[in-house]
Amino acid sequence: MSSWNIWSVPVVIISLIIIAPVLAIFYSAFLGDTTLWPHLFETVLPRYTFNTLILMLGVGGLSLVFGVSSAWVVTRYNFPLKFLFEWALLLPAAVPAYIIAYTYTDIFEYAGPFQGVLRDTFGWSSASDYWFPDIRSMGGAILVMSSVLYPYIYLMTRASFLTIPVSFYQTSQIHGRNTFWLVALPLARPGIVAGLALVLMETISDFGTVDYFALETLTLGVFNVWMGMNSLSGAAQISSVLFIIVVILLTIEYLARRNQRFHEKSSGQNNLEEENISNLKKFKCISICLVPIILGFVIPVSVLGNFVFRGFSIINFYEIIQTTLSSIGLAFVGAIFVMLISLLMILVSNYKSNTLQKSIIFLASCGYAFPGTILAVGIVVFVGWLNDNIYFHFSYFAGGFLILIFAYTTRFLAVGNGAIRSGILRVHPNLMDANKTMGIGFFTGIRKLIIPLIYTNILVGGILVFVDILKELPITLLLRPFNFETLATYVYQYASDELLEESSFAALIIILAGLGPVIFLSNTIKNISKKKQSNIV
C-alpha cells in the first residue's frame, strides 16, 4: 500500500475539515458538564437506546424486504406495467419523512377516512367497539419510515443486480439452483449493504417522525436535553452514543466485506434475458412492486393533493416558484460538490491510501448519522472558530451559501461515498495495475478507465444527494442567509405551527421537484449499465 503521497495528503486534510463539525460536537460534549449523566442513565437513556435499536431493526428489516424484493422482480421477470414500476419504485425517495408522518396520521387515526370507512362498513360507532393499531407508535414509525427509505436499497441493489455478469445467472440456472439466494443476493451485497447503511443512518438521525409520534429515541432525547435542560453538552453526549452505534455498524459492515471480492470478470453475452412467468407469478410481482409504491408515494401524495384540492393550502405562486428555483439551484450545486469530494475520497482511499488514511476518510462520512440540528450546531461552532482565527471577507450572503454547501458535504458525504464505493468494489483491482504497467498516470487511468466504469454509481449518488438536499430541513433552516427560503423551510414554517394543510402545496412541489431526477436516474441506470457491460472486456 502506498503511504503519504501527493493524493492522499490533501484528501486526508479535506476529510479532517469535513469531520471538524463532528469533532466540534464531541469537543462540546466533553468540555461541558457531565453532571447530567447520572440522571440520564437512571431515567431515560436506556429507554432511548432501546427504542432507537428497535426502530433501526424494524426500519432496516422492512426496507430490506421492500427494496431487495422489488429490485429483484423488476430485474429478473417480465410482467405487465414493469416499465412503470422500474421508476415508480423510486418515487417515495422524494417524500420527506417529516411529511409522511403527518399524512399517515391524518389518514389512519380515529377521525381519519380509513377508520371511518371501517366504522361505516361494520357498523361500529365508537373507539371502544373495535381495535385498531395506533399509527403514532413504534410500528407506525417503522412503517412510514421504511416506506420512504427503502428506495436507497432498491436503487443500489438494482444497480448491482444489473451489473452481475449474466454467465453467473446462467450457470445457476443450468444447475437448477436458486438464482436469487445463491447468486444475485450474495453478489449484490455491496450494493445492498451500502443502501442499508444509508437507511439506518437516516433512521438514527430522523427527528420529524419520532417527534410527531412521540417515540423516545436517542435523537428525541438529544433535543429534550438540549432544549429542556439548556445543556448543549448533554445533548452532544447523547449524540456521541449515536455516533458509537454508527461506528459499530459501519465496522461490522467493513469487516464482513473485507475478505470478499465482488468485481466482475465477465465476458460474452451480457443482456440478461427477462424470464417469462405464469400469471400467478405475474400477480405476485405486481404486488411486490405496488405495496411500497402505495405506502411511500400514493398515500402521502393523495393526502397532500386532497388538502390542495379542498383549497386549504396557501398557494402563492410567485413565492413558490422563486423558492422552487432556489431550492433546485442549491441542491444541484450541493450535489455536484458532494459527488466531486466523494469521488476524490473513495478513489484515493481505494488506490492511494494506507489503513490509517482509509479510516480517516471512512470517518469523514459519519455526519450522516447525527441529528441534523446538532450537526448544524457543530458546523456553526467550527465555522465560528475558523472565522475568529482566519477572518473570511465574504459577504454574509455569499458566506451563508458557502457554509450551506460545506454543511451538505458533511451531512451527505455518506450517500455519495456509499454509491461510489459499491461501484469501485466491482472494478477489478488489476485494472489500475495494468494501467501502471502501460505507463499511464493515476489521474489519466482514473479518468479514462475507472470513471466510465462507475459512471452509473456517480449518477446514482449524485441524484440521491440532490433529492436529499431538496428535502433537507434542519441544517438549511439554521445556516441559511437572511430572507432565504427553500421549499423545505417554507413548508416547515407552517408545519411547525401544526398547519400541514396550509403547507401541502409547497410539500407537493418538493416531491414533484424530486421526481424529474428520480425518473431520469432510473432510465439512465437501465441503459448505461447494459451499455457499460457490453463494453467491458
Partner: protein, 338 residues
C-alpha cells in the same frame, strides 16, 4: 438667500430620509415568518426601516454565540421564555435603555437588567368537553392529578417547551416534591401515551379518546376559525378553563413571546425601535388578531374574541423563574414519564 436655505433644508431632509430608508435590521426569529411578517411590514411602512429575517426553531442561540462580534444579527425574537432566557444566559443580549419599553411591559414580563422583553402572552389552558365533564370540578391545574380523571386526559409530551414551562410554574408554586407528585398523578390519568401536538389533543377530545386536554389558548382560536370545516367542528362543545382563578390562588400560567437586542448589533437604535413598535397599541392588537395572543401592554385591551373565551387573572410570578426552573422541570418530566 431664503431659496438657498430652503434648498439646504430640502436636501438635508432628502439625505436624512435616504439614510432612513437604507437602514436595515437583521432578525434571528424563532417565530415563523408568516406570523411575524405582518408586524414587520407595518413597521417598515411606518419607519422606513427594512427587516431581514432568518427563522429557525432551534440553534439560533448557538449560531449567534459562534458568530460573536461578527454576527450580522441585530434582534432576536422567540416564542417562549425559556429560549429567550438562553440568550441572556449566554450573555448575547445588550442591556438597553428604553423608557417606552419599561412603560409598556409590566416588570414581571421583562428582565431586570433590560436585556429581554415580553411582547405577547399565551395562556396554557385546560380544555374540556362540556357534555362529558362537569367543568366546575376542575378549578386548578392541580386538579388534573385527581384519580377521578383516570383515563380521561390527553396531552402532548411533557418535554415540549410549553408543558415544561407549565411544569416549572407548578414547581414554583408548590415545590419540587408536590410538583413531581402532580406529574405522576397526571401521567396515571392520561388516556393515551403523550403524543401529537396541541391541535391533536383537541381532535382527540372530539374523537372521544379523552375528555380533557391541556393546550395553548391560541390553538383553540386557530381551530375555531380554521378554513377546514372539520377543524371548526372539533371546537364545538368545548369549554376553555383558565385554571387557578379562585380567590387567593395564583392565577393561570402564561408564557410569553419576546425579544432582545443583540449585544454586538450594529443597528441598536433601529432594533430598539422595532421592539418598541411591537409593544405599541397597533402591534399589540395585531397579536390578538393574527394569532389569538394576549397583549403585554396593560393599556391595550385584549380582542373581543379572546375576551369571549373568558377573562382571566394570570400568574404574576417573574417569568424569568419559569426559565430558571426549566431544567428541573425536565428532570421531573423524565422521571415521571410524561
Amino acid at each position: 438667500m431664503t431659496k438657498k436655505y430652503i434648498f439646504i433644508l430640502l436636501s438635508l431632509i432628502i439625505l436624512n430620509s435616504n439614510s432612513l430608508i437604507s437602514k436595515e435590521i437583521n432578525i434571528y426569529s424563532h417565530r415563523q415568518p408568516f406570523l411575524i411578517n405582518p408586524f414587520l411590514e407595518a413597521f417598515t411602512a411606518e419607519t422606513g426601516i427594512k427587516t431581514n429575517i432568518v427563522y429557525s426553531k432551534t440553534g439560533l442561540a448557538e449560531r449567534l454565540q459562534a458568530e460573536g462580534a461578527n454576527s450580522p444579527a441585530d434582534l432576536i425574537l422567540t416564542v417562549d421564555i425559556a429560549r429567550l432566557y438562553i440568550y441572556r444566559d449566554k450573555d448575547l443580549l445588550a442591556s438597553i435603555d428604553s423608557s417606552l419599553l419599561k412603560a409598556n411591559i409590566p416588570s414581571y414580563l421583562r428582565s431586570d437588567d433590560n436585556t429581554w422583553f415580553g411582547l405577547s402572552k399565551r395562556a396554557r389552558v385546560i380544555i374540556v368537553n362540556k357534555d362529558r365533564v362537569n367543568f366546575d370540578e376542575i378549578k386548578k391545574i392541580e386538579d388534573l392529578s385527581n384519580p377521578k380523571w383516570k383515563g380521561r386526559i390527553c396531552s402532548r409530551p411533557g418535554s415540549h417547551v410549553y408543558n415544561r414551562a407549565l411544569m416549572a410554574s407548578i414547581i414554583a408554586a408548590n415545590g419540587e416534591v408536590e410538583a413531581e407528585k402532580w406529574a405522576e398523578g397526571l401521567v396515571l390519568n392520561l388516556a393515551r401515551r403523550p403524543q401529537g401536538n396541541d391541535r391533536a389533543q383537541v381532535k382527540a377530545i372530539y374523537e372521544g379518546q379523552c375528555d380533557i386536554a391541556i393546550i395553548n389558548n391560541y390553538y383553540f382560536g386557530k381551530l375555531k376559525f380554521s378554513e377546514d370545516p372539520k377543524q371548526r367542528e372539533w371546537t364545538k362543545n368545548l369549554k376553555l378553563i383558565f385554571p387557578n382563578q379562585e380567590k387567593g390562588d395564583r392565577g393561570s400560567h402564561v408564557n410569553i413571546s419576546g425579544g432582545g437586542v443583540v449585544k454586538f448589533s450594529k443597528n441598536k437604535k433601529e432594533a430598539i425601535a422595532l421592539l418598541e413598535y411591537l409593544t405599541s397599541e397597533t402591534a399589540q392588537k395585531l397579536y390578538g388578531k393574527i394569532n389569538f395572543e394576549y397583549p403585554v401592554n396593560p393599556s391595550v385591551e385584549s380582542s373581543e374574541e379572546l375576551n369571549s373565551w373568558g377573562v382571566f387573572r394570570e400568574d404574576r410570578i417573574p417569568i424569568v423563574n419559569i426559565a430558571k426552573l426549566a431544567p428541573l422541570a425536565q428532570k421531573i418530566i423524565d422521571r415521571s414519564g410524561w
